[in-house]
Amino acid sequence: MGVITDNLPGVLEPLPGGSVLVTAVDQLINWSRSNSLWPLTFGTSCCAIEMMMATGAARHDMARFGAEVARPSPRQADLLVIAGTIVKRMAPRLRTLYEQMAEPRYVMATGSCAICGGPFMYHSYTTIRGADEIIPVDVYVPGCPPRPEAFFYGLLTLQKMIREGESIRHPGERRRPVLAALPEGMTLDDIRKEMQDLLSHDANVNMTDAAAEGAHYSAELKDF
């Protein structure tokens, strides 16, 4: 693939009708990429079970979308499905796994934990608030855990994105389908700032208050 994506546009473009040909090649490559996704088996917690129901189990079958060949090795996979919470200790390993995968690689964040920390968003001292703090994520599938149907919707969205999003003229640049718009007068930076304020408010402990409560409590507990 490397030869085609690196050299083909340069050879084809100058020819008469070359642009049309490049677009046709684009479509062919994207069509084959979108229908032969090999997922990496990477489940950390609960969502992995629903992932298993979706991929391998009896009622739902991912093979219909060409994505059933689950690979345990990142070097053979091109779809990283993050199913479950990512904690601080796992984060470097996730990054390593991502970097070991060959281009083009796609990432799906499945479940609330992989999107934003989910139920472990507040008061947890280890959870990474969203896998996208570590690696770029292409598709988010919400749910705690998402149903297999939701997972399939995410997979179909990813396939749509692959088919429409990339051109061999600019390898590595992806266009995401616009799915939702922000409300009037609100920017992404506002949301990010509000989030940071909330998190820092939760993470800071007033030591004098905490110590006073502890002393009061240990006096109470002497009887037990």
Binding site: T41, F42, G43, T44, S45, C46, A48, I49, E50, M52, M53, G56, A57, A58, R59, P72, P74, G84, T85, V87, R89, M90, R93, L97, P119, F120, Y122, H123, S124, Y125, T126, T127, C144, P145, R147, Y217, E220, L221, F224
Partner: protein, 386 residues
């Protein structure tokens, strides 16, 4: 055609250590945290000598989410949904463990209908959990068909739960003071249909794996765990019962309606992988028996006895309570200072203690058997790390 099957005597006295006439050198292999057979993000450091395992050291913390600490920041009802995410295959039993300690400490009342529903859904989930284990166990041994069979039948229970509870995996159903919703009008009919279906499928399970001589020979005599070592390591659940200790909280300290139903506690003799397999298969049959006895006799009554917004206050002190989940004893230690939020919560989870038995089982065995031993413990990693 005659086939050779290990006798009981051979399983008890048989030598499980591997020896090689070649001179070998010790080396280390790192298994996990990303590995298809470690059921999540468990990491094992193996010290090997040729193909012989000399030492197994589990390394934990790759999914430590601080659930116990998070419990201190919310009230008691807010802690229930967090324990769903610990041992997600026995979410209802986890709910019940927290509920039980809060109810016992705060002296909250329940009625027979609540207890019957709790017992029923917990037993259904025990079947569901063992079905998933059976499928994954087959896959870890190299066969893909059990995975299909196990998860096909698991979906039936998922549907029953979905109708009543609205969730498939993380239930958040059993709450201090009752259960979140009354059972669906179709619940009894659906469960009966499932039991009829599942009883006709059990022979299929047996024909595929239990009576399969390859599976039997593969599992017999490997990963032996003596009763003394199992007790010393704190193993509970099927791992302990397979070693011959008939310890089941449902019998020894009955809670819910377990004292009113008739069931047996299957125990193994040798404590090898085959016994652990057999105990779980038998437990599924016993759970079917329990559900059969209860399904026609659900008493009438209310299903939630406190106001949903009521603040539950637990008297100051240390409270403890435990239940038998599909994997063993889940104990919840609650330290309260009299307020509506816990001062400290500690969970004694079954998987943590069961996991450390792998060192005892695998040492001296072959590396090819390690995955079978690990799978026979039936670990859920988020329950270990919490």
């Amino acid at each position: 055609m005659s086939v050779h099957v290990s006798t009981l005597q051979a399983r008890i006295t048989g030598e499980s250590t591997a020896s090689s006439p070649l001179s070998t050198e010790e080396y280390f292999v790192n298994m996990g945290p990303q590995h298809p057979s470690t059921h999540g993000v468990l990491r094992l450091v193996l010290r090997l000598d040729g193909e012989t395992v000399r030492e197994v050291v589990p390394v934990l913390g790759y999914i430590h989410r601080g659930i116990e600490k998070m419990g201190e920041h919310g009230n008691y009802r807010q802690f229930v949904h967090l324990v769903d995410r610990m041992d997600y295959l026995s979410a209802l039993a986890n709910n019940w463990a927290v509920t039980m300690v809060v109810e016992k400490a705060a002296k909250m009342e329940t009625n027979d209908r609540i207890q019957a529903i709790r017992t029923l859904v917990c037993e259904l989930q025990r079947i569901q959990s063992h079905q998933l284990w059976w499928g994954v166990f087959g896959m870890d041994l190299g066969g893909f068909t059990p995975f299909f069979y196990g998860l096909r039948d698991r979906e039936q229970i998922c549907d029953i739960f979905e109708k009543t509870i609205g969730a498939r995996l993380t239930m958040n159903y059993i709450q201090p003071g009752g259960v979140m919703f009354d059972i669906h009008p179709d619940f009894v009919k659906d469960v009966k249909a499932f039991l009829t279906y599942f009883k006709s499928k059990m022979p299929e399970y047996d024909a595929l794996m239990t009576e399969n001589v390859i599976i039997q020979e593969r599992l017999r005599g490997i990963g032996k765990l003596s009763a003394e070592r199992a007790i010393a390591l704190g193993a509970t659940g099927p791992v302990l019962r397979a070693s011959g200790v008939a310890h089941d909280l449902r019998k020894s300290e009955p809670y819910g309606l377990y004292s009113q139903v008739d069931f047996d506690v299957p125990v193994g003799t040798v404590g090898d992988c085959w016994d652990r397999y057999w105990v779980r298969m038998e437990e599924m049959r016993q759970s079917v028996r329990i559900v059969e006895q209860l399904i026609d006799n659900i008493p009438e009554g209310k299903t939630f006895l406190v106001k949903p917004a009521a603040k539950i206050k637990v008297p100051a002190g240390v409270h403890y309570s435990h239940v038998e989940t599909a994997r063993g004893v889940l104990g919840v230690l609650l330290v309260s200072n009299g307020k509506d939020a816990p001062y400290r919560i500690h969970c004694r989870t079954p998987n943590f203690n069961n996991l450390w038995c792998i060192g005892e089982m695998a040492t001296g065995g072959r590396i090819g058997d390690l995955v079978a031993m690990l799978s026979s413990i039936d670990i859920v990693v988020p329950d270990i790390d919490r």
